[in-house]
């Protein structure tokens, strides 16, 4: 029935057990969902934290998002699944690039005079490079986040440096802050995103 060839993947029973055992950790998932809902607001089809969570759980049970317990906790897995689901354009818009909202369609087609010659970038994803529409989503999301912290210079700088791939100790050193201050700044970012989710 479930011919799962991935022996590291959690079984149905393990997933169900993990769901039942979440308990108060659901609070963490709510907080994460709110960050994602704000970030991907214009492109995410889900509007409530519990809907995004439900989809992540369903896809885990269906093995569409596989949980490997030796790699991460169930909470970490669900956070990753929720992030992927919130961000996944092709699942929302299908394979036809003309379904993508108008602002993204400016970037969709490559050269070609008519429909037959046009290239649909959704069908030409090479490796892990983001597609033009993913870039547009990311650009809008990043700008929306950064705009929230225009009046908080410290949080703004911390966010910018995290965005460059730097880690907490590096950021603390570069900005002349303590690690606690950097930590507090990112918490302010997270709090403000969550508050702005609705």
């Amino acid at each position: 029935m479930f011919e799962d060839q991935d022996s590291d993947c959690a079984s149905d029973a393990e997933v169900r057990s993990a769901i039942s055992s979440l308990g108060n950790e659901r609070v963490r998932l709510v907080a994460w969902a709110r960050v994602l809902l704000f970030t991907y607001r214009d492109f995410c089809e889900y509007r409530e934290a519990q809907d995004l969570y439900m989809e992540a759980v369903l896809r885990t049970l269906q093995r569409d998002r596989r949980w490997k317990p030796q790699n991460c906790t169930f909470v970490e897995h669900l956070m990753g699944a929720m992030r992927s689901i919130a961000n996944h354009l092709p699942e929302k818009y299908g394979k036809d690039a003309r379904n993508i909202p108008i602002r993204a369609t400016d970037l969709v087609y490559s050269s070609g005079e008519d429909d037959e010659q046009r290239v649909n970038p959704l069908e030409n994803v090479a490796g892990t490079a983001p597609t033009p529409e993913e870039e547009l989503v990311a650009k809008q999301a990043t700008e929306r986040i950064e705009f929230l912290f225009e009046d908080d210079a410290e949080a703004s700088l911390v966010l910018m440096l995290f965005g460059e791939g730097k880690k907490e100790p590096e950021i603390a050193f570069e900005l002349g802050l303590t690690r606690s201050q950097v930590h507090a700044a990112i918490e302010r970012v997270r709090y403000k995103l969550s508050k702005a989710a609705h």
């Binding site: 963490r28 709510v30 907080a31 970030t39 049970l61 909470v75 709090y191 508050k195």
Partner: protein, 147 residues
């Protein structure tokens, strides 16, 4: 495409990584306070989350039941369609079943391997067995495991 075109997705990815890590390090107590300050009722939200989890499980098993029912229905139809391929007379059917059992004894379950009184099978039983063997691709006495 220039490097700048990949910047936005990377930057956002790093930001979300940092936010996720921060969230994992924060105590549940502090998270509850944050949610309350954001106007979220934690108790109500937790109930909604619990319900959503149960709904996901129910949805998963509903889809599974539907899929298995559809597969079962299709399987029954395939077995039914195989009736057209059976010989007309009872004697021919008995001969056929005997030949298949002899030729494919290693592939058949005990139900078929130990079948001694084929002559005593009712018409329906005989038909049913041959139809199932047809679906398995063993209807012709010449088919087998190539041995």
């Amino acid at each position: 495409m220039s490097d700048q075109s990949n910047d936005a997705a990377k930057r956002l990815g790093f930001m979300l990584d940092a936010l996720q890590e921060s969230l994992l390090e924060t105590s549940l107590e502090d998270l509850v306070k944050e949610l309350r300050a954001a106007g979220v009722d934690p108790l109500k939200t937790m109930s909604l989350m619990e319900f959503a989890g149960e709904k996901a499980i129910a949805e998963h098993y509903q889809r599974l039941r539907e899929r298995l029912t559809a597969e079962r229905t299709e399987s029954v139809k395939r077995i039914g369609r195989a009736a057209d391929r059976l010989p007309q007379s009872r004697d021919e059917r008995i001969d056929l079943l005997q030949a298949i059992c002899k030729k494919n004894s290693l592939q058949l379950t005990a139900q078929f391997r130990d079948l001694k009184d084929i002559e005593k099978l009712s018409d329906d039983e005989l038909s049913n067995m041959l139809q199932q063997l047809a679906v398995l691709g063993l209807l012709s006495p010449d088919s087998g495991n190539g041995g």
